[in-house]
Symmetry: C2
Subunit: 125 residues, 2 copies
């Protein structure tokens, strides 16, 4: 199995998801060893949620999984880049295609993404 | 000034650099508040080196700076995405365009990037 450097960040590596077709950067999250190995094995993105302290199988609740086409590892072996197809079109829980839907313009953040879904209708409270 | 969430990771946010023309993800690093503010102010990527515990003005040594064209902020306000022009063509200290120059193929990592420069000739020991 491929050995990543999980020691530098307390058992985790950074994971960037990029749309395999458009090249849009969708999100950044974390993986522990289990999440990385399950991602490689299943071809679906699995992260580690630092707030919930458990595996986060992306799309488990909403059905909007990420199909992993390619995985790249960086020079320090502490970050991975996933080229994915985002089912449903929106990676962000706010309903945008990308979590990076706000742009720095002067001293302000301007929303530049378009909402794919209304989060109130997808996630129950 | 724009307020990012520096508290979640001990004073740091993640920073992804992406080539503004090709969309290639070049690297991931960290920024503290000072690095972020200097990046916004100067239009050149400044990171924070966790190992050296100080600001890392990318390209200061090699001349291969990153000109920042756009900055995006993610939904959690703890990560930024920089669209950059990488002077010299290589973001990685190993001499590759991208730090993500190795691909997961089965149980192995395969080098898929082409070397732009020989690191031995650029960085003195």
């Amino acid at each position: 199995m491929i050995e990543l450097d999980f020691d530098k960040a307390g058992g985790l590596v950074s994971a960037i998801a990029q749309d395999v077709e458009t090249g849009q950067v969708l999100m950044i999250a974390w993986m522990n060893r289990e999440a990385f190995e399950e991602t490689v094995r299943t071809g679906r993105a699995v992260y580690y949620s630092r707030s919930r302290k458990k595996l986060w199988r992306k799309g488990e609740e909403s059905g909007n999984v990420q199909q992993v086409h390619e995985i790249f590892v960086d020079c320090d072996t502490d970050a991975v880049l996933l080229k994915v197809k985002q089912i449903g079109g929106a990676a962000c829980h706010e309903g945008y295609a990308s979590c990076f839907f706000r742009k720095v313009e002067g001293d302000e953040l301007t929303v530049i993404g378009e909402r794919i879904f209304d989060p109130k209708k997808v996630y129950s409270s």
